[in-house]
């Protein structure tokens, strides 16, 4: 597999393009971020934007909040630096870790903010998890879609037009570049957030397994409604240069925010991806599909910030990537699959030219709070079979066609 000559992202990474020096476009975006952007001017833009909305509504803005380092930093910065009164909005995806819940408590009490939490119907969520895993090799559709659309409904329903997100996507992918204003809008939602499936599409794909209104929290509000609100939905990282290590240090110091051990993530990166206890499984699936995962992202960011050398990075990813995480067992319960079925499905989503070798898989370590993760609400096998059967039927046809039948 070809990798960037500067960082370590491989050719299977979404939207990666190598230039004639073999350097990837994500690295080039980073250069742009460091050298071309006038951050002073962007800061002024931020101040102007805030002034348009401050004090005119019940809340100055919405801050969609996971409790991870990025949303915590965003909240902290807006409250402490600009004195805004935000409505913190969290979509509870169902897999919040104990440390995260404590972090959140400390943060909201220390900063003094209202928080609105929405927990979608677990039975609906399970069906969505299984369906999106089958269709796209990614079980997190409810989370991707919910996190980005639910707060927009809150904006509409509570009349809070300004929405502040955290990290710009150009840190990871080239769906947007630093040169463009990345509006966190329906276009972005459709461009890559929802895996190419909206709530309307999911309804059709589920063939009546859920009702249309069950999917409303995952649907994006119509543009007309949002325009009537005079909405703006932006990334804080479009206005101030994003630096995750520095930001994590600040929130740890000021808010007592604590990092956590994450499955298959090396020491030294405890600030990363601490929100969800299925994160390790998510990474494992990515590895099966694309041959790389979280350690590769972390290493690449560190290389760009001159905190790591490339050969050290390669060593790190060799050591840490691709192990089977213990959380996989929990996912299998939640979506009613056997591990063999899981692997068959994951393998069907491989991105060329990567070819996964199941024979090389080593078991990964349990993290410290594994035993405290809830395991209620396993999916009844009969329900899983309804969705699985549809998928198998379709695949049979593919396989028959492939065999010349």
């Amino acid at each position: 597999m070809k990798r960037c000559t500067r960082c370590v992202l491989p050719q299977t990474h979404e939207t990666i393009v190598f230039d004639n020096e073999g350097v990837c476009n994500i690295c080039r975006q980073h250069e742009y971020k460091q050298t071309v952007i006038d951050w002073q001017a962007r800061k002024k833009d931020l101040e102007n934007l805030i002034d348009l909305y401050r004090g005119r509504y019940d809340y100055d803005c919405i801050v969609p909040f996971s409790g991870g380092k990025d949303s915590t930093w965003t909240l902290y910065h807006l409250v402490r630096e600009y004195g805004l009164k935000p409505l913190v909005v969290r979509l509870d995806h169902g897999f919040l870790r104990p440390n995260l819940i404590e972090n959140t408590l400390r943060t909201v009490r220390e900063l003094g903010v209202d928080m609105h939490v929405f927990t979608p119907n677990w039975k609906v969520v399970q069906k969505l998890m299984l369906q999106s895993f089958l269709e796209k090799g990614d079980f997190c559709w409810h989370c991707h879609a919910g996190i980005f659309s639910y707060p927009m409904w809150v904006a509409v329903n509570y009349n809070i037009p300004l929405v502040f997100w955290g990290e710009p996507s150009a840190e990871y992918t080239a769906y947007y570049s630093y040169g463009q204003a990345e509006e966190v809008d329906e276009k972005r939602f459709n461009r890559y957030i929802n895996l190419g499936i909206t709530a309307e599409d999911m309804f059709v794909r589920l063939e009546g397994d859920v009702a249309e209104r069950d999917l409303k929290p995952f649907s994006y509000p119509p543009l007309k409604l949002l325009r009537k609100l005079n909405y703006r939905s932006v990334c804080l990282g479009s206005f101030i240069p994003w630096d995750v290590k520095r930001q994590s240090e600040i929130i740890s110091r000021e808010l007592g925010w604590k990092g956590d051990e994450v499955e298959n993530v090396p020491k030294g990166y405890e600030y990363e991806k601490i929100e969800c206890y299925l994160q390790g499984t998510r990474d494992y699936i990515k590895f099966i599909k694309r041959g790389y995962s979280r350690p590769c992202h972390l290493a690449s960011i560190d290389i760009r910030n001159h905190r790591l050398k490339r050969d050290e990075a390669m060593g790190m990813i060799e050591t840490h990537e691709g192990k089977r995480p213990p959380s996989l067992g929990i996912l299998l319960e939640y979506i009613g699959l056997t591990e063999q079925e899981f692997m068959e499905i994951a393998l069907s989503h491989q991105v060329s030219p990567y070819q996964h070798d199941t024979g090389k898989t080593m078991p990964g370590k349990k993290v410290h709070d594994f035993d405290s993760w809830p395991r209620y609400g396993a999916m009844p096998r009969k329900q899983a079979e309804i969705q699985l059967e549809r998928w198998n039927r379709r695949n049979e046809v593919f396989l028959r066609a492939a065999a010349g039948g």
Binding site: Q11, E14, T15, I16, V17, F18, E135, K136, G137, D138, A174, Y175, E186, K187, R188, F189, N190, R191, Y192, N194, L195, G196, I197, T198, E200, D201, F203, V204, R205, E207, G208, K289, H349, V351, S352, P353, R394, V397, F398, A401, A402
Partner: protein, 262 residues
């Protein structure tokens, strides 16, 4: 430099599920085995956001319905989609062309009607311009190395060879060829490179190849090996963690000139 094009193919049909009538998007396998995968407007918007180069809409129920359904869909799409749209399915006459073009379609594709009334190609290109007329050709292999054109959604065999028909279509005034291999449709085994290459060699109008993409490398082969100007994919984006922007990057990395997204 003119870029090669990546064109999602959206096929619409009446749903089999639920109590309310509703047009849904389907994928097909060898023109049979329909799988319902989404809402036409929603998917069109997604492809717009993902900066696809064009969209092709085919009404698979066209034999049963009038153009009204398609016309209405095109009108709604024109409100939010700002890229070229080709529309097809049961188009039979200039009036159909006129309705669809004035609703927002840029090109209209004719298939069965062109075979049954080849003069339609000349009449429509004279009235609306050759660039509006796409000749859609579906074909199957005969098993002895030759291929046959099929009409009526793959149900009726003709005595024509796809390459000869493409050449004649150009002569009669078509502005583009949409070539679909029924045997490979939805199989994800790759395009039928040989036939595409032959057609691309024999005509001087653009050729859109369709039927069989399952990997990004299939698109690459269609452009490099077969010389297609554009590749259309119906199934490819629907069941994998792939989207036009990702595929585009992979195609670029193979050295093919294709638009990098906005």
């Amino acid at each position: 430099m003119l870029k090669r094009r990546l064109i999602p193919k959206l096929q619409i049909k009446q749903t089999r599920n639920g109590t309310k009538p509703r047009m849904v998007l389907v994928t097909t396998i060898r023109f049979e085995d329909f799988i319902e995968i989404g809402d036409p407007i929603s998917q069109a918007k997604i492809y717009e956001a993902q900066a696809a180069d064009e969209l092709i809409f085919l009404d698979l129920d066209a034999a049963l319905q009038e153009r009204a359904i398609l016309t209405e869909l095109v009108s709604r799409i024109a409100e939010e989609i700002f890229m070229p749209i080709t529309v097809g399915g049961g188009i039979r006459c200039n009036e159909d062309f006129r309705q669809l073009l004035s609703s927002g379609a840029d090109k209209v594709s004719i298939n069965t009607a062109a075979v049954e009334d080849p003069d339609l190609i000349r009449r429509s290109s004279d009235s609306f311009g050759t660039q509006c007329v796409v000749l859609s050709i579906d074909y199957r292999a005969n098993g002895n190395g030759t291929n046959q054109v099929y009409i009526k959604g793959g149900r009726v065999k003709t005595d024509m060879d796809p390459v000869r028909w493409a050449v004649e279509g150009e002569r009669r005034g078509a502005g583009e060829i949409l070539l679909t291999c029924i045997d490979r449709d939805g199989t994800r085994l790759g395009l039928d490179l040989q036939v595409i290459r032959e057609v691309a060699k024999e005509v001087s109008i653009p050729v859109v190849a369709s039927g069989g993409c399952g990997l990004a490398s299939h698109f690459v082969d269609g452009f490099i090996e077969a010389g297609a100007d554009a590749v259309a994919a119906g199934t490819y984006f629907c069941f994998k963690d792939e989207n036009p922007m990702q595929t585009r990057s992979q195609i670029l990395n193979a050295g093919i000139p294709i638009r990098l997204h906005s």
